[in-house]
């Protein structure tokens, strides 16, 4: 059961955030917590570190501690690169507006969760894409990524 859950988590993370994310998390000693009512997977942890939580639709969302593991990782296969002007705001967890998106690495869809990186390939946070990559080129205003969390904020206190 644990092996099956681990494989599922690894494949889902690889699918959602690109190859090294799932594989790297899969190489760790993970703890899974399940719902007492539905027995469904709720979260993925390492000790007290919360790496990811499971959404009600089955998708897995990377959390602050999970993304922090990739803070020096330059070869994430799926990421959204934002302009330098937007970097401090993303780190604070503020949303990204369409003109500040520089590039998309990998294939992205509207509505999916993505890792936001700076031009130096340093992960800044995670957020939900609201526009298609092709649409962001034509939008001069409006939110393009609804940021869930930025790596600049200390989330340890919340846990």
């Amino acid at each position: 059961m644990e092996n099956y859950t681990k494989e599922k988590v690894v494949s889902l993370l690889n699918f959602m955030y690109g190859k090294p994310v799932g594989d790297a998390i899969g190489s760790m000693k993970l703890n899974f917590s399940y719902s007492s009512h539905t027995h469904r997977l709720k979260s993925v942890c390492i000790g007290t570190k919360l790496l990811a939580v499971v959404r009600s639709d089955g998708y897995i969302l990377l959390q602050h501690q999970g993304l922090k593991l990739f803070s020096n990782c330059a070869d994430l296969q799926k990421k959204v690169i934002v302009a330098d002007e937007a970097k401090p705001f993303v780190l604070q967890g503020k949303d990204v507006f369409a003109p500040f998106i520089s590039n998309f690495v990998g294939q992205h869809y509207a509505g999916e969760d993505s890792i936001i990186c700076s031009k130096e390939m340093e992960p800044l946070g995670c957020g939900q894409l609201l526009l298609l990559p092709s649409e962001t080129k034509f939008f001069k205003r409006g939110i393009a990524i609804k940021v869930r969390f930025g790596l600049g904020r200390n989330h340890n206190a919340a846990q």
Binding site: A24, S27, M28, F70, C73
Partner: protein, 105 residues
């Protein structure tokens, strides 16, 4: 062509930093144009040298965080020395270090 103003810049050395090497152009002639609002630099002549990035004065060992080191030690079940080496090889990337160590085992 719409070529705008031309300016000659007296440069002593130009270093183009690439991912794996640095291209050093000594005593070049540099011309600066402004064409339709965009600035274009043209480098002419000079002697060109190539050096591998980080070959001499650029050697920098990445700073290894103690938390990262202990995390890699416990997760990969390896000694601190092996974990440190893996972290240095992966330039401080915890995930890459763990993947490297798990592939070795």
């Amino acid at each position: 062509m719409g070529l705008g103003s031309q300016e000659i810049i007296s440069a002593q050395e130009i270093v183009i930093k690439c991912h794996d090497r640095n291209i050093i152009i000594s005593s070049p002639q540099v011309l600066k144009f402004i064409v339709q609002g965009q600035t274009i630099y043209q480098i002419i002549g000079g002697s060109e040298n190539t050096e591998i990035a980080g070959s001499h004065h650029n050697i920098q060992e990445p700073e290894i965080d103690k938390d990262d080191l202990s995390f890699v030690c416990t997760q990969a079940n390896v000694s601190a020395e092996i974990a440190k080496r893996a972290l240095i090889e992966s330039k401080g990337d915890v995930a890459a270090a763990l993947l490297k160590l798990s592939n070795k085992n």
